[in-house]
Symmetry: C2
Subunit: 593 residues, 2 copies
């Protein structure tokens, strides 16, 4: 096949689009692959569509290799299935909703768990029908608050979503592994570096979840990893709790005046003046910071929760969102504090001096006088001693002992995670990095099947609920991620297996011999089975043509210039930037080797 | 390639879906090709998707053969471009509209003229860039009032829409012809009978338009054709006007009492009693029926128009809609008649007795006393004499002469079209038939380019407005049309080039030799490059397997039964229903011949 650049629907731009923040966005627009239609919504030009289709083909091949079957759902779906699982409401502002002429509710589906579940329920009824893996490559919609970075976070995007159906946990493990393996093969074939990180499965109600992150400074996700092989996204990182300490024999709490302690360091210094610990001086890690968070549940009700964590840590709101999902989390407001102050048995709850204890006993925790829920960072184990607020202006208490002086209602992972923290699997200290999510594998378990009634008869004729997995790859995002990684600043630079063409031939010069040689080369490369684009534009200077060739990103370029008269052309390998003078007769061999 | 039916995600149904009105809908659902998600919205199962992709491939090949290039637009588009062309409003209830979280208006695009125009404007600026034909295969949405017949009229459907861009009328003619030719090749390759009919270009503001109709009794369109080769949809049929007659010497109109004339025949009989025409008796075709229609324009204003047509014809509301587009048309209400009766100079306007004349002169027509617009069927030429109402209860007038006694404001094509009417090109009498629209080619002209400012520099450096064509094929509808035509009542029956598989092998029996022979055949057919589906279900009876094979619609079936022990199988050609006993060794040859 061959295409003449003079005929191809493409225009390169010299200027970066004004809204482009990242290289992939800049280059895909400048090279004429995509064009913006609305915020986060793009049209695909011939070159963009061609690369996209090649990526899709790789994904299809690897999924079908293990027996996954392709189906296709519409984007427009009725409200009912999403109502049954609660997601119609849970999605909040994040989805597009609309009504038809009969005033019935619809959505543009952001993901399809519900309808896949119902489809399998519609068709299948026996364990003999399982396992089953279905997938689709389909355009999805999300009403992102801040669409950005071109294809990296769009409001319309192509996604490959798969769903697996099994009737045993072991079956789900296998289906999950098949998808996970296929994803590894897909990203490897596409030449994209990835890290598989543990993800928190909580929000989707499932049991196991991993993300494929492509490490990149422009990634929206933070993940952690250890030299010993541990990797997780920050939301999934689990703190290693220290061992509990004996409580017996610890001194009683001491309330002390704490004026002029604007920082934790000043507070710690004062505590050490008042009464150092028996074994060592107090440090910032011995202070207990008590943060009041307001949780809004799906039904709209608001609960105030106090989170206690070491004073040298901050609350990471992303981790808090996952920890308290599906409720929404925000810091308590002044009004919330006023509510706390009205509670029976409250000791004052003065902002900046909040603590779980007053001289009368525990004041936070479901079993305490106020009944306010109190959850602790996992580091606050029984027998640990703390400096914390005494619920009175300019008063703190020291030597408050967990498990003796205050009552916790469980632990919570909201403290920030830092380089140097230990990997939970003992594989050493972690480092943090930025990544872009390119794939997600997920054991949903029986949540959707339960709610939507997907059951099959097992070997014993007993109805059992199906267990499911859900697996996603953002196709258009993946393309942007590849563009982001492979470009060399001057232009796109595609891996050979997804490049829109195999070879880009540039006729650099006006002489007849240049064009004749180029035409001959087009013919022989075509005959050799290569897909060729030929820059045949008669009045465009070689410099502009070279620039366009770099921008478009075909990895192999052949420059037919003055030397064509001597039977020589230049073969330019974009990846190494090497230009090799090559006899015309050897070009096919050089490019197909 | 081969697929085992036991592994394929498919379930056949014995019962027709309750809402299925047509064979294609019944069979595509029963054979497990599609599943309903909402009214007019379907999910595509593996078999359905496979056939759909093959149809798309045929379309792509034929379009790319003449240089059309594929792009892809989103379904979700902003309001603005559609606002500029007026279509945001014109579409009325027919489209899905929605808002994003910032309250901006969007639509799910029913067709993409606007954004293709803007895209070309964005990229191109010179006549050298033209001609250009772009296309996409994309899911479209229309909020149909009555989605019906499965894929034949859905609210979500896949459409191939192309747009051509030229800077001369001759160029547009060529681009139009290229599309038209490609469409002929596409429908021919898909084995679908079609008639190319002239269509009315009015509503889209263009100049030339033809529809590809597939003749079928379940078609929603009526078209007319003559033995001599004329074909048009009913909306586009143009009446051949008779020659005008000399007015001089015709008798003056005669008002007469017309009680007890409930029908046109009784009125004609009475007129002949009163005063026959000089040359012949009056007939029903000599009566002038004056119908008041109410037109609602896009801006909401309402106009009453009187349409005069021969009394032996009725108003065809579909033709009226096209004739008065973009205004909406309905019969006048009682309230409208009351408005007419209030007009200055009105002669009474009694319903049932409305006429364009009273003894004082013309009473309808923009230049008449009332100023009401009056349009005439093309048969009402100057010098023709009419019997019509006298605007008074139980009074008619005869011998009213067109061009003498009443003033027309032009002609209009709203009278119904009947078998036996003359083809406008003189190719003989027409017959009427039902058809289903499967393609549409359209010269849009400069309307969209004008409004959206798509101009290029011509050879003389002058800015000229681009002229466009718009060309559509309903892909999913096309698939249903093929299913509708090719099925044999027992099941689907695909043309070979779009069948989901080349061969359907049925293991009919429980003996080991049956399965062994079938497996061997699968292998050899695969090696011969055929795509095989193998019904390997161990516990399903041959009868059920045959039924399923018929339902699924693969045109060639191989039955491996008891005779396998003797090295013989049956090759079943669904199209001819012939079953040929064939040696196993000859099956590949029989199927690849």
């Amino acid at each position: 096949m061959s295409t003449r650049l003079s005929q191809l629907f493409v225009r390169t731009l010299r200027e970066d689009p004004v809204d482009a923040e990242v290289a992939s966005h800049r280059l895909l627009v400048r090279a004429g692959y995509i064009r913006r239609q609305a915020p986060g919504v793009f049209a695909w030009l011939p070159l963009g569509l061609k690369v996209r289709r090649k990526i899709e083909a790789v994904i299809r091949e690897e999924l079908e290799a293990f027996g996954a079957q392709e189906v296709l759902f519409p984007a427009l779906l009725p409200r009912e299935p999403y109502e049954l699982t609660g997601r119609w409401t849970e999605y909040g502002d994040g989805i597009f909703r609309l009504k038809d002429r009969k005033d019935a509710d619809y959505l543009l589906a952001p993901t399809h768990e519900e309808v896949f579940t119902l489809l399998v329920k519609d068709l299948y009824s026996s364990y003999k029908d399982l396992p089953l893996s279905l997938y689709q490559i389909q355009d999805k919609y999300r009403d992102e608050a801040r669409p950005r970075a071109g294809l990296l976070r769009g409001r319309e995007f192509s996604m490959k979503d798969s769903y697996s159906f099994d009737y045993t946990d072991a079956g789900l493990d296998l289906s999950y592994q098949q998808h996970r393996d296929a994803y590894e093969r897909i990203f490897t074939r596409l030449g994209l570096e990835y890290v598989v990180v543990s993800a928190d499965a909580g929000a989707m109600g499932g049991s196991k979840s991993e993300e494929f992150l492509h490490p990149t400074p422009i990634g929206e996700d933070t993940f952690v990893r250890s030299a010993g092989g541990y990797a997780a996204n920050v939301e999934a990182y689990r703190t290693t709790p220290p061992e509990a300490q004996p409580i017996e024999g610890l001194p009683a709490p001491l309330v002390f005046d704490s004026p002029n302690t604007p920082t934790i360091d000043t507070l710690v210094a004062l505590a050490n003046e008042q009464q150092p610990r028996a074994d060592r001086p107090w440090t910032a890690a011995d202070t207990l910071k008590n943060i009041v968070l307001a949780l809004t549940s799906i039904d709209g009700s608001r609960e105030l929760v106090v989170v206690g964590l070491p004073g040298d840590r901050d609350v990471d709101m992303k981790r808090a969102e996952v920890a308290f999902a599906p409720a929404e989390v925000e810091p308590a407001t002044e009004k919330d504090f006023a509510e706390l102050a009205k509670l029976e048995g409250n000791p004052g709850f003065v902002k900046g001096y909040i603590g779980p204890w007053s001289p009368e006993g525990a004041v936070i925790g479901e079993k305490s006088a106020t009944g306010v829920r109190f959850v602790l960072d996992p580091r606050v184990v029984d027998g640990t001693q703390w400096i914390t607020g005494a619920n009175v202006h300019e008063k703190h208490v020291l030597g408050l002992v967990a498990g003796r002086d205050f009552i916790a209602d469980g632990t919570v992972e909201v403290a920030d995670v830092r380089a140097g923290d230990p990997a939970p699997d003992g594989s050493g200290p972690i480092e943090t990095a930025r990544g872009m999510e390119i794939g997600h594998v997920f054991q949903l378990g029986r949540k959707y099947a339960e709610v939507l009634g997907l059951k099959v008869l097992d070997e014993n004729g007993k109805l059992v609920t199906v267990t499911m997995g859900s697996y996603g790859i953002g196709v258009t995002r993946l393309m942007a991620a590849i563009a982001e990684t492979t470009n060399d600043g001057k232009g796109l630079l595609w891996p050979k297996n997804i490049s829109p063409f195999d070879v880009h031939i540039v006729a650099a010069g006006k002489d007849a011999v240049v064009f004749e040689t180029a035409e001959t080369l087009v013919g022989s490369l075509e005959s050799a089975g290569l897909d060729v684009v030929f820059d045949d534009r008669p009045k465009v200077s070689p410099g502009v043509k070279f620039g366009d060739a770099e921008l478009l990103g075909v990895p192999m370029i052949v420059i037919v210039g003055r030397d064509a008269a001597n039977g020589m052309v230049e073969v330019w390998d974009r990846a190494t930037n090497e230009r090799t003078s090559t006899p015309v007769a050897d070009v096919v061999a050089a490019l197909t080797k």
